[in-house]
Symmetry: D2
Subunit: 281 residues, 4 copies
Amino acid sequence: MDQPNTHILLINCPDESGLIFKVSKIVYQHKLNVVSNGEFVERKFNHFFMRTEFSGEIDKNLLLNEVKSVLPPSAEVRLTANTKKNIVILATKEYHCLSDLLIRHTFDDLNINILGVISNYMHLKELTSKFEIPYFYVDHSDKSREIHEQEILAITRQLDPDFLVLAKYMRILSPSFVQNYNNRIINIHHSFLPAFAGANPYQKAYERGVKIIGATAHFVNEMLDEGPIISQNVIPVDHTHDAKEMARSGRDIEKNVLADALRLVCNEKVFVFKNKTIIFD
Amino acid sequence: MDQPNTHILLINCPDESGLIFKVSKIVYQHKLNVVSNGEFVERKFNHFFMRTEFSGEIDKNLLLNEVKSVLPPSAEVRLTANTKKNIVILATKEYHCLSDLLIRHTFDDLNINILGVISNYMHLKELTSKFEIPYFYVDHSDKSREIHEQEILAITRQLDPDFLVLAKYMRILSPSFVQNYNNRIINIHHSFLPAFAGANPYQKAYERGVKIIGATAHFVNEMLDEGPIISQNVIPVDHTHDAKEMARSGRDIEKNVLADALRLVCNEKVFVFKNKTIIFD
Amino acid sequence: MDQPNTHILLINCPDESGLIFKVSKIVYQHKLNVVSNGEFVERKFNHFFMRTEFSGEIDKNLLLNEVKSVLPPSAEVRLTANTKKNIVILATKEYHCLSDLLIRHTFDDLNINILGVISNYMHLKELTSKFEIPYFYVDHSDKSREIHEQEILAITRQLDPDFLVLAKYMRILSPSFVQNYNNRIINIHHSFLPAFAGANPYQKAYERGVKIIGATAHFVNEMLDEGPIISQNVIPVDHTHDAKEMARSGRDIEKNVLADALRLVCNEKVFVFKNKTIIFD
Amino acid sequence: MDQPNTHILLINCPDESGLIFKVSKIVYQHKLNVVSNGEFVERKFNHFFMRTEFSGEIDKNLLLNEVKSVLPPSAEVRLTANTKKNIVILATKEYHCLSDLLIRHTFDDLNINILGVISNYMHLKELTSKFEIPYFYVDHSDKSREIHEQEILAITRQLDPDFLVLAKYMRILSPSFVQNYNNRIINIHHSFLPAFAGANPYQKAYERGVKIIGATAHFVNEMLDEGPIISQNVIPVDHTHDAKEMARSGRDIEKNVLADALRLVCNEKVFVFKNKTIIFD
């Protein structure tokens, strides 16, 4: 259960003996009440991960410094209040992921606060307006990708979200855009990656004759559809499904997989390491 | 439910009006008792498929000729008793799919009769012998692939099975071998195809950081791992699974997916069309 | 794929020889183009079911009469255009199923037309109003169940829907209310029935320590949670989920299972027989 | 990944501040290498659970005493080498779970050593003998349940297993028998408990018309089918499945669920608390 009014301490560093002892000692000495605690050692690179969620009054800098002092110098440490994350959604024409996030935002189901929706079409403006969320129409016609992305970037810079969410945004973002939001852009891809990366996955799935289709939520990196996978799910299909019917069936898992990924990311449950995710759920 | 003492009529042809009427009329006139009936029209190529299972006495040639007389000239028609299918299993060192089939054969769980097991190793001889199934050891060392396959072919030709089953047979069969058993070789691949085709799928799945792994049973054609898919299934994994642990988890779905594919194929429930399967289950 | 501008012929009757032949003959003679066709014989009661979807011009009464003339006298025959079904939704306070149906209605994802929402609370009025659907607040406080139901019935009689949808409506409907809509009320129950029928299924699931939770969409009959099941789905849980967390996780399958059931029912794919459903999908 | 040559420390006690710190301090001071570590606090009863797997040389009594000295007096502490667990299997006539365990035992897939198979029928003797496992036929005809159980108990006492595994053993064990093996008897029930507890679950599932069937592995306590659940899984079914076909489909998940439960239990990953399981996997 995700608890309000808690803090989360996230540590990753090369593994060495006694890390749990040393960190838990500090937490204990500060008289903090541990809500949940998880550790993992990645064996291939011998790398240590720890996530501790606790309640209690803290002096953030003091606590951070104490923790850092017992860890290897290369350790990454993050201490954050468990508060709502600000997101900006990019969408194109499809309504199902966007509407799902608007509803969840409205009823406080995810730990998110939607700052705005950016789209290269007007299709979803009416929907977005129902929920009183600003809609930014950024037409891409007659523009280079570079110009289009700069216009988007101007908006996202002003809104300053914690995460960008690509809710079926059907244009490819350039590496230079992505670099502005390293491991902070979350995409939903409508296939069970790495199967059917790229365009038209349902058409490809239909042509290949697969018996299961899926959806994948992942962080976006500079390589299309190759970023760290956060969440995946699948549903069965059969020979009676053409590509259009697969797309219809797939919508329900797309929106759930994206929401699941946001729940994990926005509750600070996800580490990214070597293009993979370590998830404490 | 699969019924003994029935016949199965399998038809596929270009679609045209009245096919169900014309075929069901013949079945009715022969006073046959329909156990189950299924039809499907593939819309892209406008192709008709029909599977009728019935009980009752038949004059096979007469019935076949009558059915053909009402169908387009290019129709493929097959009329077969619902009897056990003879299979030959090829395996290498892994025990789980082979043992599963040996057990199912022993207790009559699948509609199969295992004629023999062929392997390029001795590892599974003791297991196979427990079930009194002939074991053919065909060493591949110091032989060209061609010679090795000819030795295997000599055995399969003598055993004359309905289907060859690759139960984790870890060598690639050449197109010239495969041509001897067109749509009659069934392979279990340890990934959710088309993801991770080729060698070492669990290692690749681990490296990609997927959250779900799978298994795929398919007919083998001349292109590695690209034949018509019969059955697929998946299980969740997470960051705590390394490649070895994924392989261990995957074994349970590999054997179930292979058994499921054999149940479908050996009960004459599968059509192959344009590198896909149409399945009446 | 569900096709507009088609008709659907639904037949069920005691099984006898030649039914498929006789019905398909009539369809053929009327020069109708069969889009999909399915038959099933329930073996315990030897009862025949057939669903034929076709395009083409019809004289509805003529066709119906011809079909009836070749069937046993007790046959039930239904011939209907594949059009949108009118529904009225009953809800209480939970937003997730209602919002999902409002969104699908808005974007034409299901074959439904929402005539109105009836609730015993005001909680969902604002949401419903965003989508310009009439909201009927029928307070239940200080009223007998009988009076409350009569007030609801007055509204549903006026709206005259094809189906009533209980989208997490948390009051039990009396048998006398249900009799007005025999096999036309669809409920979503937040457990994998028959496990945890009745009140507080997530609390009961938590107390029992199950490792999987589910949701069930079913027709409502006079016995609470015992009507014919249309659709079910499940998700894994573990010891870290308390009842509240199970409820949160369960919401996503509840809404998908309810939508799936409506898709089946509103596309005329469901027969009810002996308190079970026969589904042609 | 389950590692040989490790020890496992299992702790459960009322929660209090600093437990992780205090225990991990001792592990650190003993210079043990932590392989995996997990903690969980059950919030309803405020109870703490910890499982630590480590490698390194230990003085078992010394380590146990040190750990106990920092825990509340009511703490339960267990320190065990990660070795194979001895099991005795009880079966009746069905082959699928027994054969699956015999195969896994033969190929070292589970952390088990099968000491013997006890059955009230001769049906599975030939199968068991193939794997050179002792088979004890204990006929139940013309005997009271008490006498029959005493005969079984005489055998299990001599074999002295860590766990009894009911691999589709179709007789109900009396509370007095069960008391001899508290939380040490593992049963596979062929339904998704608590649905369809008791006899003939597939027949009941068929009659209820469910769309999903399942299997449940649980510890046996004095109440039939009400012990702590270890593992569950499900598969979809539809109206074409009668009870016999459900049973056939269910066999594949029954054996996998039972094997999964044994993997968890025999690798010391399962705590039992208040009739539920806490699982560190």
